[in-house]
């Protein structure tokens, strides 16, 4: 058993910490959120130049190793600065699906493009009626002489507005709820028959409703084996869950620190409100929640790196359950302790609250994952 960082992990953490501290001003971020692209192309190029986009990939794929522990290191630091660049959607989820399911040619061209920063991806899997059930896929892929015809509606597809390519889950056989019969396809975002309705998300990102209307894809756009994509999807979304939970740990740490600092400067009744025990113990609780979250993210990362199996899925479910509750609580407390200023748009703290709240709703919220934990 060893919990220490490798030299590479330490260097990675240091460089991201510096980036977040020096180059990720909250007010610049606010402008980026409202810009046309929604994030900074310069930052993305920097991520590529510094090799951060290589982190999620194995050495066989030309990456730096791709361990869950590495993802944890990156995302925790990103969480501290509320980094909005689509590292999750493109590098972790999109890249993860290609790495896990793609054939040699797909891997070679696409992963290289992700790592050099020239390819943006989005994964369209959720549907209006699926909630968090990954086997619920109503979108159909009907075999034709030329390939497959896609039809269906995908919900809240992260990074779809900026994506060059979209990976979509669709049913090639079976009933809407069957575990078998789900396939993945990768296609250009501007393909004929795709309608992308873009919008902002609560936490400063971009997403879209994506509709497929008789969208034709060829057989070589299939990602992985026809009909057996569910385990791939589950596996990659477990890694995505780890990533957002690590991000939440970073966000909770910063939110707690900012709350503590704020109470020291805010004076009421002739004294700093940090002197009030009613507030002090709530901040101690925030610290405890954050530390417990950090511990269980570490556990899940180590289990994922030890093997992709029931045990790691159970660890991820436990993690998502706890981090969901912890980030909800820390978010609510940070706002309450800040008082009125906490519910304004101008202060950064409310934006930490928003991101932490949304993280719980991604990839199965706390209740869903608690039940999954029990059933596994």
């Amino acid at each position: 058993m060893d919990f220490s960082f490798s030299d590479e992990q330490q260097m990675l953490q240091d460089s991201i910490t510096r980036f977040v501290q020096n180059d990720y001003d909250f007010y610049d971020r606010a402008k980026l959120i409202k810009s046309e692209l929604g994030f900074s192309a310069d930052h993305w190029k920097l991520f590529a130049d510094l090799g951060w986009l290589m982190v999620p990939f194995t050495e066989d794929d030309g990456g730096l190793g791709g361990s869950a522990a590495d993802l944890m290191v990156v995302m925790e630091e990103f969480g501290k600065g509320l980094v909005i660049e689509p590292f999750l959607a493109t590098a972790i989820i999109g890249g993860g699906l290609i790495s896990k399911a793609g054939n040699a040619q797909q891997k070679q061209t696409l992963i290289a493009a992700i790592m050099d920063g020239s390819l943006q991806l989005a994964f369209a899997y959720a549907e209006p009626n699926s909630r968090y059930d990954l086997s619920y896929v109503a979108t159909s892929a009907k075999k034709t002489a030329d390939g497959f015809l896609l039809n269906g509606h995908k919900s809240v597809v992260l990074n779809a507005p900026a994506a060059d390519k979209i990976i979509v889950s669709a049913r090639t056989s079976g009933n809407t709820n069957d575990k078998d019969g789900i396939s993945l396809f990768i296609l250009d975002a501007d393909s004929k028959g795709i309608d992308i309705q873009s919008y902002r998300t609560q936490d400063g990102g971009r997403a879209a409703e994506v509709n497929f209307n008789n969208t034709l894809v060829s057989a070589d756009q299939l990602l992985g084996t026809e009909g057996s994509a569910l385990p791939t999807i589950e596996s990659i979304l477990d890694r995505a869950s780890l990533a957002v939970c690590a991000e939440a740990v970073g966000a909770m740490e910063t939110a707690t620190a900012k709350t503590v600092e704020y109470t020291k400067t805010r004076k009421q009744f002739g004294t700093s409100i940090s002197k009030f025990q009613a507030l002090q113990h709530r901040m101690a609780d925030m610290f405890i929640e954050q530390q417990q979250a950090k511990s269980i993210v570490l556990m899940a990362a180590l289990k994922l790196d030890h093997g992709d199996n029931i045990e790691s899925s159970k660890a991820v479910a436990a993690m998502k359950s706890l981090v969901g509750r912890a980030s909800r609580k820390v978010g609510q407390e940070t706002i309450q302790i800040h008082g009125g200023i906490g519910v304004t748009d101008e202060l950064d703290i409310g934006h930490y609250f928003k991101r932490m709240t949304m993280i719980d709703l991604m990839f199965g919220n706390s209740d869903y994952q608690t039940q999954r934990f029990t059933s596994l």
Partner: protein
Amino acid sequence: MNVTFSPSELTFQQEVREFLNTKLPKDIAHKVKNDLHMIKEDFVIWQKILADKGWAAINWPAEHGGTGWTSTQKYIWSNECAVAGAPAIVPFGLGMVAPIIYTYGSDIQKKTFLPGILNSDVWWCQGYSEANAGSDLASLKTTAISDGDDYIVNGTKTWTTMGQFADWIFCLVRTGAPDVKNQQAISFLLIDMTTPGITVSPIYMLDERREVNEVHFDNVRVPKSNRIGDENQGWTYAKVLLTHERTGIAGVARSKVALEKIKSLASDSNHGSSSLMDNPIFAHKVAIIEIDLLALEYTELRTLAAISTGKAPGPESSILKIKGTEIYQAIDELKMEVAGYYAVPFVTEQFDPEFEGVKVGPESAANSAPLYFNHRKTTIYGGSNEVQKNIICKAVLGL
């Protein structure tokens, strides 16, 4: 980073299992696993077995007779002990006073006291709390007035756990002048319980057990050579070492075993037409506790890992106390819920291992409520959980 055991750690685990399997007396393990009443000899027998093996003092430095184990070895040890039903080590000698003696004591004190502690020949108890010095421990009033080579001690200590068995007591007493600030007026004394002037009176807990006592000091003469370190520095010694002895305070291994037992009982128990575990509300409560416990296990492992790299356990270790006791109590509550109606009968005789009558209800149910009542103490003792939060606020958050 990795979560696996190395080959040598696996060998160690095997050695521990072998040892527990052959050396842990079966009757003692039976008592532990079934929440039956333990007697003094049970603890002493077990600790002497450990001492023979050299495993009595897992946290002491090797030079004083400790194991010198790594944090992973300690983790393996506590897990295996919990699974096997080994009794908890009585902490007052091995866990509490010994580190003070080997860290701050004189060579003579080390030579005099450490062997008896290591071999469990001498039973120690703790004289910290007083009637009006609970969470605010430093406000204690027991005095030690200088008289030549001795102190004359007067006052009353309370909540003295298993003090009725003790040969020696370690005490915090006031040696400073009345106008000196509490923290700079306290000395640390080791006192022979057979000294004239000491009387011990019982306090009965909600389970009607004599677990704690009051210890009265009426002009008790204590040699100054039994003082640890300098006069009026006792508070510092006691405080520094509080953070050091948190290994195992979270009780993770014990809670894991208890929770597994609850899951098994709840799966077997009838809840109308289905098992209690099929009740989604109960299953949800179990899952939340289990998940909290997983997180706590890694919080403890992180703390142990930090210690093994030479860092002192920080005030973060207060988390272990807070979450560990909250989870422990939540498990007690579940156990009582599993018992249902059979938590109600209070038939104390049947907790005696010698009891030969007809037992009322299932064995797992009988002691569930008494333990639930008794274990409310856990969030109160050792610095109440509110005091632990004060520590986090002051030492971690800088409030």
